[in-house]
Symmetry: D2
Subunit: 342 residues, 4 copies
Amino acid sequence: MVIVFKPNASSEQIQNVKNYLLNLGFEYHFSEGKEVTILGVIGDTKRLVPEYFLKLDGVSNAFRIQETYKLCSRTFHPRNTRVKVDNLVIGGNDIAVMAGPCSIENESMIYDIAREIRRSGANIIRGGAFKPRSSPYAFQGLGEEGLRYLRAVGNETGCPVVSEIMAISDIPLFEQYVDIIQIGARNMQNFALLKELAHMRKPILLKRGISATIEEWLNSAEYLASKGNQKIILCERGIRTFENSTRFTLDLSSVPVIKKKSHLPIIVDPSHPMGQSDLVIPMARAAVAAGADGIMVEVHHNPAEALSDGPQSLTFKQFENLMREIRMIAEAIGRNIASNEA
Amino acid sequence: MVIVFKPNASSEQIQNVKNYLLNLGFEYHFSEGKEVTILGVIGDTKRLVPEYFLKLDGVSNAFRIQETYKLCSRTFHPRNTRVKVDNLVIGGNDIAVMAGPCSIENESMIYDIAREIRRSGANIIRGGAFKPRSSPYAFQGLGEEGLRYLRAVGNETGCPVVSEIMAISDIPLFEQYVDIIQIGARNMQNFALLKELAHMRKPILLKRGISATIEEWLNSAEYLASKGNQKIILCERGIRTFENSTRFTLDLSSVPVIKKKSHLPIIVDPSHPMGQSDLVIPMARAAVAAGADGIMVEVHHNPAEALSDGPQSLTFKQFENLMREIRMIAEAIGRNIASNEA
Amino acid sequence: MVIVFKPNASSEQIQNVKNYLLNLGFEYHFSEGKEVTILGVIGDTKRLVPEYFLKLDGVSNAFRIQETYKLCSRTFHPRNTRVKVDNLVIGGNDIAVMAGPCSIENESMIYDIAREIRRSGANIIRGGAFKPRSSPYAFQGLGEEGLRYLRAVGNETGCPVVSEIMAISDIPLFEQYVDIIQIGARNMQNFALLKELAHMRKPILLKRGISATIEEWLNSAEYLASKGNQKIILCERGIRTFENSTRFTLDLSSVPVIKKKSHLPIIVDPSHPMGQSDLVIPMARAAVAAGADGIMVEVHHNPAEALSDGPQSLTFKQFENLMREIRMIAEAIGRNIASNEA
Amino acid sequence: MVIVFKPNASSEQIQNVKNYLLNLGFEYHFSEGKEVTILGVIGDTKRLVPEYFLKLDGVSNAFRIQETYKLCSRTFHPRNTRVKVDNLVIGGNDIAVMAGPCSIENESMIYDIAREIRRSGANIIRGGAFKPRSSPYAFQGLGEEGLRYLRAVGNETGCPVVSEIMAISDIPLFEQYVDIIQIGARNMQNFALLKELAHMRKPILLKRGISATIEEWLNSAEYLASKGNQKIILCERGIRTFENSTRFTLDLSSVPVIKKKSHLPIIVDPSHPMGQSDLVIPMARAAVAAGADGIMVEVHHNPAEALSDGPQSLTFKQFENLMREIRMIAEAIGRNIASNEA
């Protein structure tokens, strides 16, 4: 922590701050300049709150200068983390393509979709069984039945499967049926849930909360890492801003920022923020161009009938075209689309 | 739902949309104007997603025109809800004052604080035992021990007590020790938790998520109401914006907006968003002037030692002054500070 | 500026940064700790950009630690600035009440409104003659004709008048007709305009831009002050956030924050952000309770006919009630409503 | 405009609203449903303000359903606008690459940079001569001298040149020296400036305000178009959000959204929002992948010395690599980088 004094701070005021720190067991470096006088606090400053010092006479400002996460910081772990799921590696040179319906509606639809997108090159199948809904009156998902279908389709296609968990009590189901456990945006700071999932051995896909700073997001990842599970895949899915022509503002700049601050892989979900399939496609391409380690897109065999998720779901044809485009974009930056062939 | 057509939409395109709705079992009113042609959909449009229609040829826009919450809407329940807690009524003419430390640190401190603020006029005691922390390395609260102290102090002072719950597994503890169960901002859309708390008989204090619209907040209240618990007290505690000179931007305008849209009581917590006690005081006064049904403020017997919560905690003296000021402000708008004397 | 090194920064990397600063003519204090090594730069660091250092090897972070404004900072000018307009003083113990129509529509209406609000206690008359409109097709104001009516009504009632300027070429008109020159939110960073207005002798009312940080707002005030005009009144009028149930989010916390950072007076306009008169009233009360030096509200003799500005304008009756309430609230915090009686 | 009634609105209340509209000369379509009763207003509803109706008894909501811009809307002009500048066409299949220093510092540097980036494939030269600065104490640009250098370098390289205008009084200079006139983010709603620039024959590059919705941005373009200049190029440059790890949040989703709503070309400036060159590069690639008609990036011959703009400026080497990557990305989506060879 750095404490900055006012230009006119008296020596009593400065001494006061020094004594305060000494009493708490901290040391400091003191630096008195013509224009600015500062004091650098030495010790475990995570216990200190910058705002506290703002209340003391003579203090003009106080800053925290260290990140509060360690295990997830590139500073301490310069090399990329590679998360293995079956034959796939997420976070290496290959790009993961997670695709599938928003919600699993019935058995046949998830089969139809999975086979078709597998053929176009998707390498992980997504599908929602427990759905977080703003309104209590909206469809809440098929629950365990949905997970069972998803597992079966994963086995048939040879693709790992990913689905969102919402409650600690569902952990045994996800242990049984799912390969990658997704924590949704609304639960990014559900610390009770994070602490329990940290004890699972499976990879965790941690979505960014809609109002989470990158700092907070990495701190939530640190909850998982510090309690035992470092197989973490981050997923950008849009933040809340004033702009309302899209549902959320997809913050693609988080991709290079995360790459700089952390060693964890990061993928992008353009479907939820964009809300309409013709807007999803260009942003999926942009995600790959920005350096994401993967994308997660919604695909549906008949978007016109999938009333609740239809608008943002790609058709098979749209998905096939998208795969062709992102293959070329990946190549332009020296990467490949991952293949899960044995 | 209202669907707006493009000026140059063909009659085939319009017929297409009509057929689509008829197939789904909806009726509509059709209105063709010189400048604008619109179609009002009749039926349970909660099943429909506006974005879907934006994909259809000839459609220029689609709007939802009904609120998605009912039980919490003033439209359907014009009279104010009054939540009773012991002798207090929240949501009537009297103003609740919830005060106490951020975290319960030990037994004696919560006693000291409670007695003192009780004397100045606080009528409900707050204190955190389970603390949601961005970083896994920060102090997470005393847990059950803290709740036990809180209960004892409530019994001694005759004030109801309020504390935050973070996990479903802690419900039995809160059932035993606490009078008002607080759902924190980070859990406003933890639907698994909301569903369980809806089965409790105790009043729920529902804080606004830092990026929740008022619409989403009322939908979370609707989760509680629709599943059985209508004793809901809303609590504004600041939203996340670009401004960083305060921790959050206290959105006091939510007070009159909620009063217009809903019959539920609303209180304001100025301590967390403001972060420094000298900024908390004016905003606590402003909350009362804006028509809030109560305030929730942090008070500490020795803010200088309460390093983690110190900066935003009022001293006893500051709290006493604040009480005097808000008594006069309440009077200016025809209200009173609640008293929990038998 | 403070430069923070990575824990594993090499001594070459650190030396590199030191050399770089020395070459540019800066000195520094170097502080090497067990956990953190920092370097405090001495000299006129306004020339340095923190992001630059983030590109250098071994650097983990860089912060600016000084405010970039001086004349408007309370650090250097601890005493409140009091802006005199005729017999009124803004920024002292008395509270200014600026009221009037959004736009001056014709001569008789501004007379009717001014007389009535004067009677209820308004002490400054506002009225728009040049209107900033998002759409080129919306009514753009009466121009000079409007200013002439405003001047006449100011003379008759004995109240100073305030109106918004939009173009440098209109300065002579404002010199002639208006007592307080308003810079609107959209022009807060129109630096060409700020530089010209700095040469006027009249007080300037500087509205906060809808996405301006408090830091940027004070820097815009510094443009005025540094070029010759220190008679500045700040005006909070709402910021843009994700919440859309009000037009803007009135950031009342800027009142105590500005009071802490600056010696300039600050008033609040609740009419534009709230958009509906029944929401304006509680927020006007809250502004006074928060410590504002004044309010600016729209009043209209017949809001139902003033289609463009009607929704947010108070009726005479509403304004009279509001005056009664804020008198009592002012008293609760030891202040008064200003009177412009000679 | 659509007016929605409350479920329990009385027939008197509804009749009241109808009479009101009839008195103002509007007609309406009335639609009474089991759940919802609505009224579609017919006529030039731009005169009406939705909030007004919210004040009337029995009204639950009111929406504007038409865009307020016409000339810039794709609805009325389905074909892409192509803006010609010398031999280049912006808005067709080819992608424009505008590059150069943030500020023109002296004659030799702009020559050095221009020649080098021209060789790598830049087709338009950018350079700032009048700089908008938050602080009055920061370097404000070389003014006319800078424009003169820029013109000379444009002539030598055969590339059109673009620079930002800040004041109406500078129009003659820009008429003389510059090929594309840039309106900066801070002036997007400087309506006095927009009105004057609309009379120029030269293409206008209109940057998005940092808190402007896409709707407001297109309305500012409408100011230009409706008053005579339709040669408009939009430029996304980041919006203000809560995230502070980048200067602004580059809203790349505005690219496909603008393409849907408007026929105007749109380019992207990743330099200003990202603030550091290693973050600029991936976002420049992403912009092309998202479908932008061009990019604008800062390049400097010696970023380490360009203290004020250094951090975000690319080196020649970085720019050359970027050009190679975006050529391949353009190809992946069936486009080309524009060439300004005769």
